[in-house]
Symmetry: C2
């Protein structure tokens, strides 16, 4: 590969060379996120490679989050994703984002006493008919919508409900409020992370196309006595968020114990 184009004598496959050329052009020309990339046909002509090579290069860059496809619109330079480092430090979304200099603004869609059902009830392990306080929020980071969350506080307490309704949750950490105002302190938790396709209301709220990938997180939080005090279901825009974590070898395992995909 040369700076000018594909090097047909190089050992590196054409599509790898093309990937590097595209990445280099994005950097060199300071192409902004959202910049429309040339079409497949234009790339074929410009780099003098086959459509197969262009497809593989662009496909891999999409899979690596460098480029982004929008159905029927073309391929664009992707935005760098926000990193959630919540595994490493167990700080929350609000603290995590604000401590990295981002602004968080939550639009509180509802604060209600509800009968907890479905996944939330399973996560809490509550019997049918149990009531909780449900807080539904649409959360924006740096003025961009990134997450839709449903939090359930395992209390059927009208006074607490009224107090929460009277509290500004738009620029605050819910867990901080639970701890400071209600003495509910979180000690341990369990979480799962999945990828799901955006569907119905979620795609509208998060402003993504139907079927676009979302990061879906379920969480259960317990106090030091092991009682569940809260759970949440959270859907994150996959084009805006990644989850980061540090891991260490588990001393319970032998020296050769492997990390993932070992």
């Amino acid at each position: 590969m040369t700076d000018l184009g594909i090097d047909h004598d190089a050992r590196l496959p054409y599509y790898e060379q093309l990937k590097q050329l595209i990445v280099r052009e994005i950097a060199r020309d300071s192409l902004e996120p959202g910049h429309l990339m040339p079409s497949e046909a234009e790339m074929c002509a410009r780099y003098e490679v086959s459509r197969t090579v262009v497809r593989q290069a662009v496909g891999e860059l999409v899979n690596e989050g460098v480029l982004q496809r929008r159905r029927g619109k073309g391929t664009f330079v992707a935005k760098p994703k926000l990193s959630e480092q919540f595994m490493e430090s167990t700080v929350g979304f609000f603290e995590d984002m604000t401590s990295h200099g981002h602004s968080v603004l939550s639009s509180v869609l509802s604060v209600d006493r509800v009968e907890v059902v479905g996944r939330a009830r399973e996560l809490i392990g509550a019997s049918p008919g149990t009531h909780c306080i449900e807080i539904v929020r649409l959360r924006a980071v740096n003025d961009e919508v990134v997450a839709f969350t449903k939090s359930y506080i395992v209390r059927d307490d009208e006074t607490m409900l009224e107090q929460l309704r009277g509290t500004d949750l738009s620029t605050a950490s819910l867990y901080r409020i639970l701890a400071d105002q209600f003495g509910l302190r979180i000690d341990t938790g369990h979480r799962s992370i999945e990828a799901v396709a955006a569907s119905g209301m979620l795609s509208k709220l998060l402003e993504v196309g139907s079927g676009e990938p979302l990061l879906y997180i379920e969480s259960v939080a317990r106090n030091s006595a092991g009682e569940v005090i809260e759970c949440f279901l959270a859907w994150h825009r996959a084009d805006r968020m990644r989850i980061e974590m540090n891991v260490v070898r588990d001393s319970r395992h032998s020296a050769g114990a492997s990390l993932n995909h070992g």
Copy 2:
């Protein structure tokens, strides 16, 4: 809600009642994963609710992983996902799966000396022109393809390459082999998790439709001296895999420090 249908006098919204009815029917009739659910029109007629109610109920069950949409084919009962618990114990994919009674079979697509480029080079922090041993695998759990992985061992070593080519990697932990055969022990790591849309070759290899969500994991592994010895890029079928983890409050933070979405 009654066992027979929607209770129009209940306080629970119709779509929540319908969600519960659908979940109950799946359990009661032991509907298998892959079972085709009735169409929206059929559900409207059967439960005597509007299409809006059916859409919201089905949409939420899709977002919660209970149902699965396949474009142009309909809505199906989803398979329960395999849980990767690699955060909690830092055991690897192979050990994690086999210790939970699953069988892992990797189809080794290539073991090569390559110039490391793109994301892999960034993860390793290598200078341009650095060569590594690349191992590309398509991994199946219980005879179903679930992950496509590219591992890079940061060694430019022909002897090691030949030894790895002579080793059966199809039913083995790579990290176990690195430790036992080559003395390369992993001490710490850094990982990120994203959701991406399947594109090109990936959708073919993982047997999912183009645009379907995938869980994408990047990982860097270091030895006790802090040197990078391996990295991988891994794409998981989102309909088959979830990532689970336990978290504990970080003592570096104050007692009120929050977990995610606090």
